[in-house]
């Protein structure tokens, strides 16, 4: 399962990295007649402005992956340290941080991202930040709970008994032992981040046109769906589905690999 996921991810990563080389046309300028169905010249067809859909989907992968990775890294950079501190120190700090994070977590993800994006405005970094706000609590919760349980492990107590300082315990004993679950959450969040990013762009809160973006292309294409121009939403939509599936399969497989008990439930 992880293998299939990994293959999908590698294909998309390569597509994103070498979009400029692979794409037959410039994705932002007219390259043929408008509303052309898939043909040998434009294998994914063209959109209402005559732009090549294949090139747009390829370049869209670049934006989607860039924003997803940025968002997840920002979320991890906020969630992990706070989760570590909260779980390790405990007490009132833990109560307050948990309360804040739970409040954020209780919002529907897309709604919150819309609100933040509306405040911050469009642009790659702003979109990444607004998605990160949604996912930071996930890291926080996972890390905090793991730390709280690892804190009571005997080897942590033993570390205290040899006189280790709190920072040493936190970074040498606790953090490395929670990292496996972070990796799994990370790859799962990437899938969600891609969907959220597409959602934001679909609603016009994402990347400003004419930059190629799957979500934007979807919303652009659905205006012409009644004209039976299916290719304009089919291919960006398919790209989103396959990439999200790739991340899901990969994270699921990773989870089974890192936590071998998960697979043996039955």
């Amino acid at each position: 399962m992880a293998f299939v996921g990994a293959v999908i991810l590698i294909v998309f990563l390569l597509a994103a990295l070498f979009a400029d080389q692979i794409a037959p046309y410039d994705p932002t300028v007219r390259s043929g007649r408008t509303f052309q169905p898939p043909s040998s010249k434009h294998i994914f067809g063209t959109d209402n402005l005559g732009r090549d859909m294949f090139s747009r989907v390829l370049h869209g992968a670049k934006i989607a992956l860039l924003i997803a990775f940025m968002a997840v890294l920002i979320a991890a950079a906020i969630g992990i340290p706070l989760g570590l501190l909260s779980g390790y120190i405990g007490g009132p700090l833990d109560r307050i941080l948990t309360l804040i994070m739970d409040a954020v977590y209780s919002f529907p993800g897309l709604i919150l991202a819309i609100a933040v994006a509306a405040v911050l405005g469009t642009g790659v970094t702003n979109i990444a930040v607004s998605i990160a706000v949604v996912y930071a609590p996930t890291y926080f919760r996972v890390i905090r709970n793991q730390v709280a349980s690892i804190k009571s492990e005997l080897y942590v107590e033993a570390a205290r008994a040899i006189g280790a300082r709190n920072w040493t315990i936190l970074f040498r004993y606790v953090l490395p032992n929670v990292l496996p679950s972070v990796v799994v959450v990370l790859s799962m969040n990437l899938a969600d981040a891609i969907m959220t990013e597409a959602g934001l762009s679909f609603l016009g809160l994402g990347i400003a046109p004419p930059t190629p973006d799957w979500g934007y292309d979807l919303s652009n294409g659905q205006r012409f769906i009644l004209m039976n121009d299916w290719w304009m939403i089919m291919f960006p939509g398919l790209a989103i589905i396959v990439l999200v599936l790739g991340f899901s399969l990969f994270s699921e497989g990773l989870n089974e690999y890192l936590n071998p008990n998960v697979g043996e439930r039955e």
Binding site: L154, E157, A158, R160, A161, I162, G163, R172
Partner: protein, 331 residues
């Protein structure tokens, strides 16, 4: 008391209470004892009697809910008022601990050598990595582990080997006091015997004192010079090993020794102590063994017995041996 012997650790009216919403749980209550240089004191008692709490309390690594009172002197320094920072300097260097379960007391993702380097560098930052490794190999050699295993991870060791490693780790800086909390409980009998023998050798080699916490009367018989018996947070009797085994005075010690199972197949009857230890939550005055004691008097319920000094080095916390009981009426 006991002139001529150096006192390494002295506890005076040492109390450890766990604070809960329902009130304090008096896990260790009014323990006074001394540990002499190069001696092993065994602490025995049943589960929940406070012996492990006492051990961890000496390092001050108890949960935040625990409150400590009284006095604990380690080489003349009172540990109770010490801050966490000051305690970090002592832990591992002056006072160290061997834990019960060697399978979980080592960080699973740290190599053996990193455990040692960590310990040494924490206390002696001036030591170079090479010197630290040298110290580590020496300590491992002392417990019979080849230095070629320094690069291994804890999971590559068996339980007995891990416990040897823990011992090596706890003595690498030559602490004055080693606290061994049930060091052999999770090992099989053969390995147990080896570990005990090893601990004995190491202790006389590095000339440290040891507090050996266990519920296994066989282990303390093997190891301890003196034995303290704990019951429900009280230290009820403290005496040299032979005195505890042959002339126990406290009714609990007597009952405890009678309930040790033996391998004599002609004696199939196993005696036991009727009833359960009291809950330590909000427990008040009085002897805590009172409900299970065959010799209960009226005074036992009302007032906590004093630590009665029977003779030099033999303390009993029991009204039966208090001289002033006459005034408080026996009944």
């Amino acid at each position: 008391m006991s002139a001529g012997k150096d006192v390494v650790c002295r506890m005076e009216n040492f109390r450890v209470y766990y604070m809960t919403f329902d009130g304090p749980v008096k896990a260790v209550d009014g323990v006074s004892m001394e540990v002499y240089k190069e001696e092993t004191v065994g602490l025995v008692g049943e589960s929940g009697c406070g012996k492990s709490t006492l051990g961890s309390a000496l390092l001050k690594i108890l949960p935040r809910t625990a409150r400590m009172e009284g006095r604990v002197y380690l080489e003349g320094e009172d540990l109770i008022p010490k801050s966490e920072k000051e305690m970090q300097k002592l832990r591992g260097a002056k006072i160290s601990m061997i834990f019960q379960d060697p399978m979980t007391s080592l960080n699973p993702i740290m190599k053996v050598k990193d455990h040692f380097i960590e310990t040494i560098k924490t206390h002696k930052p001036e030591v170079s990595e090479d010197q630290a490794l040298e110290m580590a190999s020496k300590a491992l050699a002392e417990v019979g582990i080849s230095e070629s295993r320094l690069n291994d991870y804890p999971f590559q060791f068996s339980g007995g080997m891990r416990q040897r490693m823990m011992i090596a780790l706890s003595i690498v800086l030559r602490p004055t006091l080693v606290i061994a909390d049930e060091p052999t409980t999770s090992l099989d009998v053969i390995v147990q015997a080896q570990i005990l023998q090893l601990m004995k050798e190491i202790q006389s080699h590095i000339r440290s004192s040891m507090i050996l916490i266990t519920h296994d009367l066989g282990v303390v018989a093997e190891m301890a010079h003196r034995i303290g018996v704990m019951y429900a947070g009280h230290l009820v009797e403290l005496a040299p090993r032979d005195t505890i085994y042959y002339k126990p005075l406290h009714p609990y010690t007597q009952a405890l020794l009678e309930s040790v199972p033996n391998t004599d197949i002609n004696d199939m009857e196993l005696s036991y102590i009727d009833g359960y230890p009291p809950s330590l939550l909000n427990i008040g005055e009085g002897c805590r063994f009172v409900d299970r004691c065959p010799k209960t008097m009226k005074v036992c319920r009302d007032r906590t017995p004093p630590d009665v000094e029977i003779k030099e080095d033999h303390m009993v916390k029991c009204w039966l041996y208090a001289d002033n009981v006459g005034e408080v009426e026996r009944s």
